[in-house]
Amino acid sequence: MANKFLEFQKSRFGGPAMTKEEKPDARSAATAPNSIWAYIITRLSDRTGLSIYWLHFIMLLAGSLIAFSASEGLRKIGCDSAVLLFRVATVLSAVGALVVLLPSVGRRIVVSLFILFHFVGILTAVTSVSPSPWLSTQIWTTVYRPYLYFLWLNNAYHFYSPQPGPANLLWFCIEYESDSDGTRNFRWVLIPDWDDDGHPVNPDGSRVFSGTEYTRRLSLAEYTGSGGGVPWDLYQLIGKRMEKGQLDRIPLFDPRILPYDQQYKLPDDRSKRWIQTYVRHVAATFKHQNPAKEHLPVKTVKFYRVLHQILDPGQIIQGMEPNDTRLYYPFYCGEFDKDGNYSDRCVRTGINSEGYFQWEVRDPYLYWIIPTEYLIRHAQGAGPEKVDSNMRQMPDNAQEGNESEVKR
């Protein structure tokens, strides 16, 4: 039976034979294998008399079985991500075991099909970003999404497209429980932040280890800014915002610099979730800057997504500094508790009696730009209470109504 199979393999494949003597690529001592792996395989082949192809087949099959057993074992202890990995390894090893037995033409056909599949997938990833063709989006969603996500090849490579924009920054204002004498406690966390020499620093003031970690923090902010577009009820929103602003003495941003429709930026649902996630991290990580008050629990966290505008050539000639406070556009994105849930006075969410999701905005400032000179008033209030915060005094260019200014 074995001989018949060997003959079949020789006649069918014209390639690898079962025994070493019949191998077309039996190595002499004069050739050096390229790697340890090749060396081990060659030695094994010498010892067992099996061809390299069969050794690969046996090893891959064994690998497949081991990976399957591992995946089953891990499934029982609930490591779903590792289970996925070992299942992929099981399939790949099993397919690989079959492929090594194919003749050269068969192997090339399999590899060619894989190459085509792979690059059609890359093409769908590249073209499924808006504006995208229907076909591309459907194929990406239904066929390629798992493959591309698993390999993380899902990037569309649209760098600086359609245009290079301002950097996004994350500004958090954490409020801790008040002192017994009524002093309100705040801490501002700015991501990223710089020292007076312009070097990136961590929130504790120490310098960032490398530019890579600094850029990672800039990337965080990019995920809070998807969405946008002018809402259908913009005029109602402006009305509410102005009404509340008059009460609090926090006016709208100057529409001559930025039109009203660009002063409101509604993030998409995914961005809203990332904001909640970041808030949880900030609330769990940062204590009050005063060592005596480190024990104070977090009451609320206000989050601002800040667009740092790029200086135009005219401003540079006028001598404006690139970190001038007027260039920072903080968009207020909500007030949260320490678990990342919207505070009741900001947004109320729920399922109504008909089973539909309800999103009731209660804070008229939500998603509006807050002029930087009024930011402290918005975040910390302008009441007569005493405040313990890590903010400095208001800058020279600030207008009426400011108690302090964002540290810059």
């Binding site: 792996w37 060619s112 800039l218 990337s219 949880r280 790029i310 005219g314 969410t349």
Partner: protein, 412 residues
């Protein structure tokens, strides 16, 4: 009649045959793995640096309470709804009401997305950091990963360590997707193709060890000590290099064409948006801001530099995928790409990203340049024989292996 028959016989069939031959030649001609070896060393060094930089911030980026905390990332990868565009022209229902409490909870979590409206939920992702959250164990595993990256860089057990290196790198990427940027994307691409190809077949500890063992074995068996040879040409090396080249062309083409959507890339002002961003550019350096101010004070110069820069970027990115295949244009296009990434590194501060892009460009370097490089390295890598002389070398040694035959074919 006979003409028609000959056309039918030779036209499509000849075209098909030549297409198959071309495909075969492009993808399956054996190639020298030395370029992969060089890329492995360059990529490995950058990967090692990137992950060493994680050490101080492991909990901030990968821990249970990281920026993207474990709860959130698990919800994303397991429950995130994916909607499909309608298959026909009917408008898709915008919202559905919840049927039960489970649906209501899901809708509350995903801003009203009803699970019945989702085509699929979550995405497949592997990361050790989904499973291990204890800080001590995390640090132990992180250090083990650094050791793997080091072994991969020097080419020790490369077949295994290349796979482990990718599995380790993807662990960081999948765990914290909101902290990754272009550098991680390029690192991942390089690691995937270096894993597919025999990246340890040249310029590696594996090769040195293999050589050492071969010599030792020959001595023990009282055989003649074989001469050091160039690495074998391998089909898998070519497949990996070609895949990397094609992927690189996709990156440039997508990046270049997508820029054409934006007005600043047409009116020539886009470059200003990359030169004057406080967060990325070296604006704390006095001479840099002085240079910007000088440019702004001379509008004709400003416009020339900006428009020239935009034209250079677009030409390089859109032209590269077409012109790099032309032998006469290859070095020119590689030089343009190097200039582009040098600019990105110096002005926009994306140094590791640029280093990885340089590494990718090695895939396009012609073989004769690789041979010269190897000759320059000389005995240190165990061979001085370039591929152009390999056929003679092989025939003089009387080797008959399949790979050697392929080598001779290619060399000839």
């Amino acid at each position: 009649m006979s003409n028609i028959a000959s056309t039918l016989t030779f036209g499509p069939w000849t075209f098909f045959k030549s297409a198959v031959r071309g495909w075969n030649q492009f993808w399956f001609a054996p190639a020298d793995p030395t370029r992969l070896g060089i890329m492995r060393i360059c990529c490995g060094l950058v990967v090692l640096f990137i992950h060493v930089a994680y050490t101080q911030y492991l909990q901030e980026f990968m821990g249970k309470n990281a920026w993207a905390d474990l709860q959130s990332i698990n919800e994303y990868r397991l429950e995130q709804p994916w909607r499909l565009m309608p298959w026909d022209w009917k408008a898709d229902p915008q919202k559905l009401s919840a049927k039960d409490k489970k649906e209501a909870d899901y809708m509350l979590k995903w801003y009203g997305a009803n699970p019945r409206m989702a085509w699929d939920k979550g995405y497949p992702a592997w990361s050790i950091w989904f499973e291990v959250t204890d800080p001590t164990w995390m640090m132990i595993i992180h250090c083990s990963f650094l050791a793997i990256f080091f072994c991969f860089t020097i080419g020790f057990c490369t077949r295994v360590t290349s796979i482990l290196a990718w599995l380790a790198a993807i662990s960081y990427i999948q765990r914290s997707p909101t902290t990754i940027f272009g550098m991680d994307t390029m690192m991942n691409i390089l690691l995937i193709y270096l894993m597919i190809g025999p990246s340890g077949a040249a310029l590696s500890v594996d090769r040195l060890l293999s050589r050492w063992w071969t010599v030792r074995r020959a001595r023990l068996d009282h055989l003649e000590i074989p001469p050091a040879t160039v690495p074998e040409l391998q089909v898998s090396a070519n497949v990996a290099l070609r895949m990397l080249q094609i992927n690189f062309c996709f990156i440039y083409m997508a990046s270049g064409l997508s820029k054409l959507l934006g007005a600043p890339w047409w009116n020539g002002t886009a470059l200003w948006g990359t030169l004057s961003v406080y967060e990325y550019c070296p604006m704390q350096i006095g001479s840099y801001t002085a240079l910007l101010k000088f440019l702004c004070e001379h509008r004709w110069l400003w416009e020339t530099v900006m428009t020239g820069g935009v034209a250079f970027t677009l030409f390089t990115e859109i032209g590269f995928p077409f012109l790099v295949w032309n032998r006469k244009m290859r070095w020119f296009m590689i030089t343009l790409a190097v200039m582009l990434h040098t600019g990105i590194a110096l002005v926009m501060g994306l140094r590791t990203f640029s280093l990885l892009m340089y590494t990718m460009l090695i895939a396009f370097v012609p073989q004769d340049s690789v041979d010269r490089f190897r000759s320059w390295l000389g005995e240190w890598v165990g061979t001085i024989t370039p591929h152009s002389e390999m056929a003679d070398h092989i025939s003089s040694n009387g080797l008959k292996s399949m790979t050697v035959r392929n080598s001779a074919k290619v060399a000839s």
